[in-house]
């Protein structure tokens, strides 16, 4: 078995659950921002926004300003989000085609995108679309979002289920975009990416986790510039 697996056994404290990762990512989203949330943990951010924060949710399939989902079997096939779910019809929405949708993305008009990740490197390279051994993958809108959103936040588990670090010196999986990630939020840490200098700054740790605990589960070298805060 892999040498990293012992870290799971040796964890100093529980890792955050998916909801807690989503909550932490949601906390930094600024009122009025145009935001695109990927599927999985990122999409869960919408349920945990700070009070008073309203976002303009964008989905690649041509919708801005949607909100909660319709009840099961009440969805309208012509009112879908990019995850294939059916949001409710609410006031202030806008529908548009895919050309316009990707003008918004490629043109740098998305303030924040929160995406899942397979690997993130110290330079902020992101790999999140293909596991090489499968030989085939799905890109969707991920490359456009990663390349052009003003801020790319990756919300993911810190390691694979078998304990292999996902925060790495160099991505070994096919890239989604180079030097694009601003922040990594995992089940044990919040890490800022200094994209200019190619280094990772550990900002926050899950309760009961030390710098050393997190570094041991991280392939890339982490830097601490100030007191390590606890993820709340």
């Amino acid at each position: 078995m892999n040498s990293h697996e012992k870290h799971l056994d040796n964890d100093p404290a529980p890792r955050l659950d998916r909801i807690s990762i989503a909550k932490r990512a949601a906390r930094d989203l600024i009122d009025g921002s145009t935001v695109n949330l990927g599927i999985g943990i990122p999409a869960m951010c919408a349920d945990y926004l700070p009070a008073g924060v309203e976002l303009r949710y964008h989905a690649e399939n041509g919708i801005l300003g949607f909100g909660e989902l319709a009840k099961p079997n009440e969805g309208d096939p012509n009112l879908m989000d990019a995850g294939g779910k059916f949001p409710k019809r609410i006031k202030g929405m806008a529908f548009f085609d895919s050309v316009e949708s990707f003008n918004l993305i490629r043109g740098g008009h998305i303030d924040v995108t929160v995406l899942g990740g397979l690997q993130v490197s110290k330079k902020g390279d992101l790999a999140n679309w293909m596991i090489p051994k499968r030989g085939i993958g799905s890109i969707g809108g991920a490359m456009d979002l990663a390349a052009s959103a003003k801020r790319v936040v990756i919300a993911m588990e810190h390691t694979t289920k078998s304990g292999i670090p996902k925060v790495v010196n160099e991505c070994t999986f096919p890239l989604t975009a180079k030097n694009c990630v601003s922040q990594i939020i995992t089940d044990i840490a919040v890490i800022d990416v200094d994209k200019k200098h190619g280094q990772l700054i550990l900002r926050e740790a899950a309760p009961g986790w030390s710098f050393e605990d997190i570094q041991a589960r991280t392939d890339a070298t982490l830097v601490v510039q100030s007191t390590l805060r606890v993820i709340t």
Partner: protein, 220 residues
């Protein structure tokens, strides 16, 4: 080209089934999210059996797909497209979604090539021209056209103007401009004036044929 985004809405379901039943072979399909709904139910109401571009790979009619999202996260069951790819029966060309729609739009708009930041440093950029503008690196992408576009709209007037509803636009308006022959599947054909001139989503000039669905068709 098959319009829509992926999922039931905006997809020319009846035209796809008709094309399958026609039995023509060696098809190259251009779509976006492709082959996911049949496997995972993506974008389909729960009570319905999904149909997507996978039907052309299931039937062996298609030998290539150009799309952005051809395989679901799961491999159990395999999608029709992944199975055909694994068996060496189909080529799969994966294009980032924004690049795919812009390539199609460019074909319709008389633009042979453009530069995009999307894909730089990734496998998508391999073999493509790289170029720096204002200190940032871009790759060149070229226009993508088709012989036929099968698209879906809510309404057509008898001249061929189309009106879309909700998120059913997606790839339909751009594909309408980028094919030699554009065939639109619509819920309803109306007289000129039956579409608000402010709501025309595809101009009649782009539409060669219109097919009206049977009222009350249970298929999205």
């Amino acid at each position: 080209m098959v319009g829509g985004f992926g999922g039931a809405g905006g997809q020319p379901t009846r035209l796809m089934l008709a094309l399958r039943d026609l039995g023509v072979n060696n098809l190259t399909i251009i779509g976006n999210v492709a082959g996911i709904s049949k496997t995972t139910g993506y974008g389909w109401p729960e009570h319905l059996e999904p149909i997507d571009q996978g039907i052309f790979f299931e039937s062996g009619q298609a030998t290539k797909i150009i799309c952005s999202f051809p395989v679901p996260g799961t491999t159990n069951p395999l999608s029709d497209i992944e199975r055909a790819w694994q068996e060496g029966k189909a080529d799969v060309e994966i294009v980032p979604q924004g690049t795919l729609i812009e390539r199609i739009r460019s074909a319709g708009a008389g633009i042979p090539a453009f530069y995009t930041p999307t894909g730089v440093g990734t496998p998508v950029a391999l073999g493509k021209e790289h170029r720096i503008f204002n200190g940032q690196e871009y790759i060149m992408e070229t226009a993508l056209s088709a012989d036929y576009a099968l698209i879906r709209a809510e309404k057509a007037d008898t001249r061929g103007n189309l009106q879309y509803i909700g998120t059913s636009r997606a790839f339909n308006p751009a594909m309408a401009t980028a094919a030699q022959i554009t065939i639109a599947e619509v819920d309803q054909i109306v007289e000129p004036g039956g579409i608000d001139p402010e709501r025309v989503g595809t101009l009649s000039t782009y539409v060669d044929r219109i097919v009206e669905r049977i009222p009350g068709d249970p298929l999205p």
